[in-house]
Amino acid sequence: MDLSFTPEERAFREEMRRFFRTEIPAEIREKAGKGEHVSKADLITTQQAMNKAGLATPHWPRAWGGRDWTPVQTYIWLDEMQTNSVPAPLAFNTSMVGPVIAEFGSEAQKQRFLPATANLDIWWCQGFSEPGAGSDLAGLRTSAVRDGDEWVVNGQKTWTTLAQHADWIFCLCRTDPNAAKKQQGISFILIDMKTPGITVRPIQTLDGGHEVNEVWFDEVRVPYENLVGEENKGWDYAKFLLGNERTGIARVGVSKARLLRLRELAKLERIGDKPLIEDRHFREKLTALEIELRALEMTQLRVVAGERDRPRGVPNPMSSILKLKGSEIQQATTELLMELVGPYAMPYHAGAEPEGDNDPQSIGPEYAAEAAPTYFNWRKISIYGGSNEIQRNILAKAILGF
């Protein structure tokens, strides 16, 4: 048992840190660190810089830009990215559809999509959830019916993140309504968002932002060749996709950056006749959260180290612990920022909306503007990507054997 990093691992960390701090524009990292809106252009700039350096898709197969890193290297890469407030490569591209195409797609699909996906030349969104199929994803009803060389797709997807930016959507569609189990009879289909019959309707989130959408399919005709892998095997690919790369889910680096920032801001904010950072109650709350985070960081490392001995693509149920605790800590940082800010958490800044045009810094201290929107918006963290209730069900079954 050796709980320290090897010299090679430490050198690798230095390399990553240097890359992120010099090659990703400071203004993008600063915006992300403050919780401000990061634009589509910023995300593209970031991912293309990473892709150029071979750092956007390290976990892909080597032939398509992967790096064959150890789990620890992948962890370090992610940790440095998060700690330095670098927006991650678009997960829909690099963690979701990319690996699925690389594993199950045809050679033509790989050629056509993988380089563009890695470079964010194509922006993907995910068509999984439906109004009646959230936690119970297998209950989905969007249908794809074969008609000669085409699929005809009808139905509705929801919670489609950043669909307003997307060029393509990867969809789970029901292709055999008569299958014995509802997990069967589902196919994984790639659809160009410019196809006639697709309507995107924005859903405004609590903070006033526009991140998610409903996507409607009305007699949408899709080339048959856009099917990935085999017909009716979509559920297997979706499981593969969801099991992929789960260790980043704790977002330890993100929380670390936020906690360090909270400590700095608490020096600026005053309570009574002294800075807030000298208030014992506040310090104790902050410190208690830091302790939880250090423990979680270690839990994450244990999961990362365990990856070595696990079959690829099979999710480690321990990662559900990372999701549970990681979401609690992230949400707690937003509560602490609300408390830190005090009365100036109240003003609503239109500038907090993506593409808004107000100046969010004009009311109260600059750092106050993002407090409430982040608090409201981040309630989603314990809901999406498998709600915390679902994570508990997974742990009860897979680890405790109930």
Partner: protein, 380 residues
């Protein structure tokens, strides 16, 4: 000891609740929010008609002589409706300050105007450095012949952008955190040396930043010692907010339980899952404890002893703040995805609850202050 409402109170409750049910649905509220100034003058006229705007005032001032229980009834119903109009700012805070600090002539002149709906007020106390301390006042009031002139910046003034008159705390003596030397001044808007910048708050209500550059202010009561009256009125506001919070929490809880009965996953209503049932029960306990504290605050807010009165008001704020946050987070969580959108009422309740947490001091602030004292239990 009797928790039943008397006939008048029941009548009041019925009529306010009917108003909310009929006129404050999700779409109507959104329409009110889109009206100029962010709230509905039509609703305000209806409040006046129902007598709500004069509720706490004496009959001679156009009011109904309502007490804390009446205020609680209105607050709870307004909580359920997420009412946007400036009732707290104008009637509870503005009207309260005039009643508690103003002389007879001022009362006779202004209170009827509030009751009729003509006069809108706001209370400006927060400053960039003050956080939640009412006595933390850097704004200066200087005598200039027969007039007082005010100099300073006030922030997050609730409904400050629609007020005809703003009640401003300003220092006439002492240094920034002294408890004495604080006056309360009526400032006309618009007026020379007054600049008001309005904006929406996170819960869809309104507030304003107010800058005073030599603005004229008319003192309300003793310009050197207005703090006791201010603290009394803020305790009344805390009791009002506690009851409003109960309305908000009750609505969130009811919505959650309903949703759990309707929403199906894995072939059954999610309310069939025992783990979720138990969480709905824990929310119920939070709600009932909060309701109890709101009742206690209502009962004690007329208390003349400022220490005993404030102790309970502050304790209620702690209870409401903690219960409300937890309950609200659970309500959003159990609604799942739609809980974090603007399209479903529960999120709006959650946002209002979050702002109530902040108003006049969050739970930690009040707990810290209470802990300095000798406890909140009555000795045997």
């Amino acid at each position: 000891m009797d928790f039943d409402l008397n006939d008048d109170q029941r009548l009041l409750k019925d009529s306010v609740e009917r108003l909310i049910t009929d006129k404050y649905g999700f779409d109507q509220r959104r329409a009110n929010m889109a009206a100029p100034g962010g709230w509905s003058r039509t609703m305000w006229a209806q409040f006046a008609e129902l007598g709500l705007l004069g509720l706490p005032f004496a009959e001679e001032h156009g009011g109904f002589g309502g007490g804390p229980v009446e205020a609680m009834i209105v607050a709870e119903a307004f909580g359920r409706g997420l009412v946007l109009e400036p009732y707290l700012a104008t009637v509870i805070l503005g009207g309260g300050l005039i009643r508690r600090a103003g002389d007879a002539a001022t009362q006779a002149s202004l209170l009827p105007q509030i009751a009729s709906g003509e006069l809108l007020l706001a209370f400006a106390h927060v400053e960039p450095q003050s956080r939640y301390e009412l006595h933390n006042v850097a704004t200066i009031a200087r005598q200039d012949g027969a007039r007082w002139r005010l100099e300073g910046d006030k922030g997050v003034v609730l409904h400050g952008d629609c007020a005809n008159k703003i009640l401003v705390t300003a220092r006439t003596a002492g240094s920034t955190r002294d408890r004495t030397g604080i006056g309360l001044f009526l400032v006309d808007v618009p007026g020379e040396g007054v600049s008001v910048r309005g904006y929406p708050t996170q819960d869809g209500l309104r507030a304003a930043e107010v800058s005073l550059a030599g603005a004229t202010g008319i003192p309300l009561g003793d310009p050197a010692n207005a703090l006791p009256a201010i603290e009394r009125v803020v305790d009344e506001a805390l009791a009002f907010l506690a009851a409003e919070a109960v309305g908000v929490m009750a609505a969130m809880h009811a919505s959650t339980v309903d949703y759990m009965k309707q929403r199906k996953q894995f072939g059954r209503a999610i309310g069939d899952f025992q783990a979720l049932q138990h969480r709905a029960v824990d929310m119920l306990v939070l709600l009932e404890q909060a309701r109890s504290m709101a009742l206690l605050a209502t009962m004690m807010v007329a208390e003349d002893d400022p220490v005993e009165r404030h102790k309970v008001a502050a304790a209620a704020k702690v209870q409401i703040g903690r219960s409300g946050r937890k309950l609200g987070q659970e309500a959003v969580q159990l609604h799942g995805g739609i809980g974090v959108t603007m399209e479903y009422m529960v999120g709006h309740y959650f946002k209002r609850m979050s702002m109530i947490e902040i108003l006049f001091g969050d739970a930690d602030t009040h707990l810290a202050q209470l802990a300095e004292g000798s406890g909140v239990l009555e000795a045997a």
